[in-house]
């Protein structure tokens, strides 16, 4: 018999990730690794990790990476890609990183049409720090800094980064996917593939927003968090290609 599916070589064999059970950070980094292998780009990969749970990847991925200051991944990636155009430069950022503290860096890199790829993990909460409210936290969703749930009168509404960036002229590809079922996992992988291909083709800024779970800070077991994605997250963050040029 032939092995038809196994762990990507870009993930360390002897190290198990520190992510919680059911956390889709692991799913996404696995997909990135599979795409890198399939596109034969592992030796060109230069990954800029955001702060927070994203940073846990640094120990497990077997390709080049650094960690940007909180929110600055797009700025770091800009400097990298501009001076090392043959590298495949991508950021890997959470919602607090990309959409809150790094909003200026994110929007400005998109607006300049930097030829980088952004993998944006949207799970509606701050994971590493323990469940604080994110710009993407759903209305009514509880957070440790919004104990009664997000109240629009006080906290405003969830931010839709794909749609916000879609107001800009420069970005090439903006897509929102999820990892909550096999079909969506496949679509996420295809989106990452396309976003990397765009960079090879010099098309400019591509972002894959991936709606994922945070079972621990949502207070749900992994199975129920799949339902939560389907029932609560996806109505607020509809999946699909927002921009493809």
């Amino acid at each position: 018999m032939e092995k038809i599916y196994g762990r990507t070589k870009t993930i360390q064999e002897d190290k198990v990730s520190g992510f919680c059970p059911g956390c889709m950070h692991s799913t996404v980094i696995k997909l990135i690794g599979e795409v890198l292998e399939e596109m034969d780009l592992v030796d060109k990969a230069a990954c800029v990790l955001g702060i927070g749970c994203c940073g846990l990847h640094m120990d497990y991925i077997a390709y080049d990476n650094t960690t940007a200051p909180h929110g600055r991944a797009c700025a770091v990636a800009t400097g990298m890609k501009r001076t090392s155009p043959d590298s495949l430069v991508f950021t890997y950022q959470g919602d607090g990183d990309f959409a809150s503290i790094g909003l200026a860096e994110s929007i400005s890199a998109a607006n300049r049409g930097e030829n980088i790829t952004v993998i944006f993990i949207n799970n509606g909460i701050y994971g590493m720090t323990g469940g604080q409210m994110a710009p993407t936290t759903l209305v009514g969703m509880k957070a440790t800094t919004a104990p009664k749930g997000r109240d629009p009168k006080e906290h405003g509404y969830p931010m839709h980064m794909c749609e916000i960036l879609n107001q800009l002229t420069a970005p090439a590809y903006l897509v929102r996917t999820s990892c909550n079922n096999p079909a969506n996992v496949n679509k996420t992988k295809q989106a990452i593939h396309k976003a990397f291909q765009n960079q090879l083709d010099g098309k400019g800024f591509s972002m894959v927003e991936i709606v994922t779970s945070c079972p621990t800070n949502w207070g749900l077991d992994p199975m129920k968090s799949l339902d939560y994605i389907e029932e609560k997250m996806l109505p607020e963050f509809p999946l699909g290609v927002i921009r493809d040029r």
Binding site: V76, T78, G79, E105
Partner: protein, 360 residues
């Protein structure tokens, strides 16, 4: 080599280009705007990249990225902008990424004043960001020195894999002086410098966990973090050999002026005038303000010296705290200060020195 007449900011930028700097990112702030402006037209001529960042924070992080990819890179700003850059500087120091930056400093905390001052001494020498990291900090007193220091700063940064700071002020940045520019590094030399960093640069490597580039501005393991801090501490300790200082007429001095940067230049002419008037004055001018040349203050003859006069464009005085460590209570330390963008005058320094001499 031909002398050219150049503004300090532009001369710093040209020196950086000649040293092989091929990436600059910055954000407008007075009085250093001529640095990004100069780079924006000069770098494309030599195959380099200029990016106007959306902020100081973004700019320094672009430099972090470019330098992580192995390119000699620089940023610059002025006081409050430097404060914003402290995040990225700290990351570069933590990750041991070589980069150079210049502070064309101005007066006061907050937005301060846009005119020249030396209000950033503590920030520059003690804590340019979180985490207790240190840097070589050079304080030019002429445009020529600013050029030479910037040129060499890239070598120091690469040698140590650490940030290097050029601590100038609005006078150095905005005045024009004749300068001799250093030799332009050839494209081959610049490429060789970049190539020499490809082993650790974050640019893509063959799949191999052990040999991948892993640029770490922090550690999960407390033991590894301590190890990284110990490595850095050993580096800082090694800088004793890099201390630079100018001692002028110190041996027989009855009063020793001490100052850095533009204040020191003013002091030097005050020393000459005081001597012409029969007052034996001397000058100690730290050229590196970090590491600080404490030993120079041992060269004062405290049997003769009535006082050390600390001259700085900072209120409250900051530089004086390092001077005091050097003087070790062997004589009184007086101060002659101005701030807020008011430039030190030679007459004021002379008057302060005379007052001390007459009063004792």
């Amino acid at each position: 080599m031909a002398r050219v007449f150049m503004k300090g900011c532009e001369a710093i930028a040209e020196a950086a280009v000649r040293a092989g700097c091929r990436f600059f990112a910055g954000y407008p702030i007075t009085p250093q705007n001529e640095i990004p402006e100069y780079f924006s037209r000069r770098l494309p001529e030599v195959g380099g990249v200029f990016v106007q960042g959306e902020s100081e924070v973004a700019s320094v992080n672009m430099v972090y990225g470019a330098a992580s990819a192995g390119t000699r890179s620089m940023t610059s700003s002025s006081s409050p902008g430097i404060a914003l850059k402290s995040e990225g500087i700290s990351y570069c120091a933590a990750a041991r990424i070589p980069m150079v930056y210049a502070n064309i400093s101005r007066g006061g905390p907050g937005v301060g004043s846009i005119q020249p001052a030396q209000m950033d001494y503590f920030q520059a020498t003690k804590a340019s960001g979180n985490g207790g990291f240190q840097m070589l900090v050079f304080a030019p007193s002429t445009v020529q020195e600013a050029v030479d220091m910037t040129y060499k700063a890239f070598d120091y940064a690469d040698r140590d894999r650490n940030p290097v700071l050029i601590l100038a002020d609005g006078v150095i940045g905005t005045m024009m002086e004749p300068v001799v520019l250093p030799e332009m590094k050839s494209d081959e030399e610049v490429a060789a410098i970049k190539a020499s960093k490809q082993g650790w640069a974050c640019v893509g490597h063959q799949l191999d966990y052990a040999n991948r580039s892993w640029i770490q501005p922090g550690q999960w393991s407390t033991l590894k973090m301590q190890e990284a801090n110990e490595d850095a501490a050993a580096l800082y300790e090694s800088w004793k050999k890099d201390v630079q200082v100018e001692e002028y007429q110190v041996a027989d001095a009855e009063i020793v002026l001490t100052a850095y940067g533009i204040s020191a230049r003013i002091c030097k002419s005050a020393v000459d005038l005081l001597r012409a008037q029969g007052i034996k004055a001397g000058l100690i001018r730290p050229i590196t303000v970090h590491p600080f040349p404490y030993e120079s203050y041992d060269h004062i003859d405290y049997n003769k010296c009535k006082a050390v006069l600390d001259v700085e464009m900072s209120i409250p005085a900051q530089f004086v705290t390092d001077v005091a460590v050097g003087v070790k209570d062997r004589c009184p330390i007086e101060t002659c200060l101005c701030s807020g963008g008011n430039i030190m005058s030679r007459d004021k320094v002379i008057a302060a020195a005379k007052k001390i001499m007459e009063g004792k």
